[in-house]
């Protein structure tokens, strides 16, 4: 019986994912597409949970749906010109092109589906089996955290570089503007009510506690630096929206430090292990857990700040007013 319920649930979930994806693409209104994409992200989080990937469920909900959704919505607010479909091209041409594109996409689906279903479980020595077998030799109990911060820590390190580049790239886009036209950044928090103030006051410490818990629990189960960083970033977005964080045209030394801290601590930890005659990021016996914990704390902050800055659309942020305007 339980199995049947699971089947029906999975079937409905799968169907909803496909329909939502189709609607995101097909909807005539951009706003609707964005909202549906956020819903799609939330359903993905449920799919991760169904597929026994709780780490991903947390990250998807916070980053995939939450932060990405916030970024899309704030962009939408600036770009309110939805192009009516008739303006794009003559209709017959569009129709023929669309049919062609639909056929192409259908072909991608057919070939991909066929290729996927032809795949058999590999016989040889697979990375996943080794990972499970060797978790005990790392400083952590959770296999995913072990992959992220020990077995394939170099991936995670370089990924922090991608996040840093996104911040630098967004600033490069600002620098591409003529100097006169800059600095029309929104401050946020217009029409703040006492209700909002009370809610933010209540939520902020709660979110910080949740982030701290997620960070700590990562060594044993679902959680870790990414989830904690994403939750902290969500707090930053909330504070930015309500005007409690305001944009700055330049980042101060402290914020620049936080921006690169994850990358710097991670790199220096690796070079330190190498200086003691080991491989890069080959943690010494007994020191693995403390080193991973220090790296994770640095990563958490260096994940949260760039995401907040990218949402803010500014090089820096500062604490703003926190008055309860009438």
């Amino acid at each position: 019986m339980g199995e049947l319920v699971g089947w029906v649930f999975d079937g409905l979930l799968a169907l909803s994912l496909v329909l939502l994806a189709a609607r995101v693409v097909a909807s005539a209104r951009l706003f609707e597409s964005i909202v549906l994409f956020i819903v799609f992200g939330l359903l993905m989080a449920i799919a991760w949970a169904r597929l026994a990937a709780p780490h991903l469920a947390l990250a998807e909900a916070a980053i995939g749906a939450g932060i990405t959704g916030a970024l899309l919505l704030s962009t939408f607010r600036e770009i309110v010109t939805d192009q009516p479909p008739s303006a794009e091209a003559p209709k017959v041409l569009v129709y023929r092109l669309r049919v062609l594109m639909a056929l192409l996409a259908g072909g991608v689906f057919a070939v991909l589906g066929w290729a996927l279903l032809s795949i058999e479980v590999p016989a040889g020595p697979a990375a996943g089996e080794q990972a499970r077998a060797l978790v005990a030799r790392t400083g952590v109990d959770d296999a995913v955290t072990a992959v992220l911060l020990d077995f394939r820590a170099y991936d995670t390190l370089l990924e922090m570089g991608v996040l840093l580049l996104a911040v630098l790239g967004a600033r490069a886009a600002v620098a591409a503007q003529p100097p006169a036209s800059g600095d029309d950044l929104w401050i946020g928090g217009e029409g703040d009510t006492p209700m909002v103030g009370a809610l933010v006051g209540l939520l902020s410490p709660l979110i910080i506690i949740v982030a701290g818990y997620l960070l700590w629990v990562g060594a044993y189960g679902p959680g870790g630096a990414f989830q904690a960083g994403a939750v902290l970033a969500a707090l930053g977005v909330l504070l930015r929206l309500t005007g409690r964080l305001v944009p700055l045209p330049r980042a101060g030394a402290f914020q620049r430090g936080v921006l690169v801290m994850g990358l710097a601590v991670f790199s220096l930890a690796g070079l330190l292990t190498m200086a003691t005659g080991r491989a890069f990021l080959q943690y010494p016996e007994g020191l693995a857990y403390p080193m991973i914990l220090v790296i994770e704390v640095a990563l958490t902050l260096s994940i949260a700040l760039p995401l907040v800055l990218l949402f803010s659309g500014s090089a820096g942020i500062a604490a703003g007013r926190s008055q309860h305007s009438p």
């Binding site: 999975d10 799968a14 496909v18 994806a21 995101v24 693409v25 951009l30 964005i34 994409f37 799609f40 993905m44 991760w48 169904r50 597929l51 780490h55 991903l56 990250a59 995939g64 970024l71 899309l72 962009t75 939408f76 600036e78 770009i79 010109t81 192009q83 092109l97 669309r98 594109m101 192409l104 996409a105 991608v108 689906f109 991909l112 589906g113 996927l116 479980v121 996943g128 089996e129 499970r132 995913v144 992220l148 077995f151 394939r152 990924e159 991608v162 996040l163 580049l165 996104a166 967004a170 886009a173 600002v174 591409a176 503007q177 036209s181 990414f226 995401l307 990218l310 949402f311 659309g313």
Partner: protein, 101 residues
Amino acid sequence: MSQPALFVLIAAAVFAIGVYGLLSRPQLVRRILALNLMGNGVFLLLVAFARRNPETIDPVPHAMVLTGIVIAVSATAFALAIVRHLYRQTGEVSLGEDRPR
């Protein structure tokens, strides 16, 4: 059909829908949405395959997807920053078939 197989096919469908969106909707935010759908398709694929053997779940794809999610949000944020500033400067929200000299 097993649960992983179901989600593998869904992943392929979401990826293909993303491909269609990328080709058919020139508005830049929509193109970015389409790329995100395609990315989600690949992520779903990886995680569904990680569960082929119900006894043991492969942690490596989970780590890959977690990395992928952060990279996707980074690329999306960068792309949206360009879109915003392109709009501020030119009022354009799509590239069209222009070949500026």
